[in-house]
């Protein structure tokens, strides 16, 4: 499904990704962990071209992201993204937040879009907030709306960048619950997270990134219980 080959990314003269190779299968849930500044966000953002890779190839399904004249907007309908800070549109109601993209893409009529949006909002448990504005919601509710907004385009892959780290501890659970459900239903997911409990329970594989590369990867058991690299061990000792 996702194929990354020798991915490099520079910011100016700073090399942030130093050659990443990996393959992710359809229906897999991959969690990416690692210290701050190790390039986790940059890696994830390359996967939907929010950052332009400097070198290397990314192929998702039949799409060659790194080819010339690649249709970025079409790809983004198939690859959803959820941000740490939700990035909801504050001037639109919750319902409008969710229906905006499908309507603009003419994927469905306004009626259909609203119906689907309500269905998704109910599924993530915020159906009753449809007519409110983002400022009136708690952090957990906002993040669930953000997930629904991404799902409204029926993406084949979902990318999450620390979706719970801006939340009050009480609200972390409700968002992880929604993500767990998604994973169970077979969504292909790449999740950058600090929630080791979630990674252990839900991930098929865990990538440990450090210094711009994937230092170690494996099943949650391999990474959490039997880490091979010294860096992985120190990191986990601080975080667990």
């Amino acid at each position: 499904m996702i194929d990354v080959k020798n991915l490099h990314k520079y910011f100016g003269s700073l090399e942030v990704l130093k050659g990443i190779d990996c393959h992710i299968d359809k229906g897999e849930c991959v969690c990416v962990i690692g210290p701050s500044g190790s390039g986790k966000s940059t890696f994830l953002r390359c996967l939907n071209l929010l950052e332009t890779p400097t070198k290397g190839d990314i192929v998702i399904d039949d799409m060659h992201l790194t080819e010339k004249n690649f249709d970025v907007d079409a790809m983004r309908k198939r690859v959803g993204m959820v941000f740490q800070h939700f990035n909801l549109f504050p001037h639109l109601t919750i319902l409008e937040n969710v229906t905006l993209a499908p309507i603009r893409h003419k994927m469905m009529t306004e009626e259909q879009a609203k119906e689907k949006a309500m269905e998704l909002l109910n599924r993530v448990g915020v159906g009753d907030k449809a007519d409110n504005y983002p400022a009136q919601l708690s952090g957990g509710q906002k993040q669930r709306v953000a997930i629904a907004r991404s799902l409204a385009l029926s993406p084949e892959v979902m990318l999450f960048d620390e979706p719970t780290s801006a939340l009050d501890p009480e609200m972390v659970g409700e968002v992880l619950e929604v993500m767990k459900q998604l994973a169970k239903e077979g969504m292909t997911m790449v999740v950058v997270t600090h929630e080791m409990g979630f990674a252990r329970e839900v991930a098929n594989r865990v990538f440990f990134m450090d210094g711009g590369g994937i230092l170690e990867e494996g099943t949650p058991e391999q990474i959490f219980d039997h880490p091979q690299e010294e860096r992985t061990k120190t990191f986990l000792s601080k975080v667990l």
């Binding site: 907007d73 079409a74 309908k77 959803g80 909801l88 549109f89 504050p90 001037h91 905006l100 385009l153």
Partner: protein
């Protein structure tokens, strides 16, 4: 004092003159504001192409030079050049509106640019990540939010514009100040026309401010909790 005011405004139906001047001041201001906002937005977006590409573009350079020159030279000079050189023989309304419109656009452009840049970076990413194009995101997501933060500065610019139209008289366009100049030259009395005119400007500006404040309140609706 009351006497002076009678001479300055009532005698010989002078208030009719003031009304005429007021009409010109308001017409020029309104048309100039419209031109300024439309062209200013365009210039702002041109300058922002540089942000988007990470380096200056042809469009951003053109906008930069335009803004630099317009803001760097006195409006009076621009008005004279427009009246005597570019639009010679055209009506005062046209000359005035166009001069002030083109002038204001430069200031409006910088205000709008700052407003757009003040919208959280994440909003553009949020829109783009949903497959919306740059233009769609700008139109549906960034601009509607920017306008709220822009409005106070924009209001300032409009106020400055209205007051600056008082130089129209230099090229014989009969605005409010020109009428007051005319009356002063006839009645040999400056204070009453000056104060009276100042009051009229004050009222115009006050209306403008109140209108803009009301608009701002409406736009801030979605902030309510």
């Amino acid at each position: 004092m009351l006497d002076s005011f009678y001479t300055a405004f009532i005698e010989e139906q002078r208030y009719l003159l003031y009304l005429d001047g007021l009409k010109m001041t308001i017409l020029v201001s309104v048309i100039a504001i419209i031109i300024g906002v439309v062209l200013g937005t365009l210039l702002a977006l041109m300058r922002l192409t540089a942000e988007q590409k990470g380096k200056s573009t042809l469009l951003s350079k053109i906008a930069y030079v335009y803004i630099d020159i317009i803001r760097g030279t006195p409006t009076l000079t621009q008005l004279m050049i427009m009246y005597f050189v570019i639009l010679k023989g055209q009506s005062g309304l046209l000359v005035g509106s166009l001069t002030f419109g083109l002038n204001s656009a430069a200031y409006v452009a910088e205000i709008i640019r700052a407003g757009i840049q003040a919208v959280d970076q994440g909003q553009m990413e949020g829109g783009r990540s949903l497959g919306l194009s740059y233009v769609q995101t700008m139109k549906d997501i960034i601009l509607p939010q920017a306008i709220k933060n822009i409005l106070p500065a924009l209001g300032n610019e409009f106020i400055v514009l209205v007051k600056e139209t008082s130089i129209l008289g230099y090229v014989a366009i009969v605005d409010l100040t020109k009428v007051s100049d005319f009356v002063i030259s006839r009645i040999f009395e400056a204070l009453a026309p000056l104060l009276g005119t100042a009051l009229i400007y004050y009222v115009i500006v006050k209306f403008l401010t109140l209108g803009l404040n009301a608009l701002e309140r409406r736009l801030r609706q979605s902030d309510r909790r």
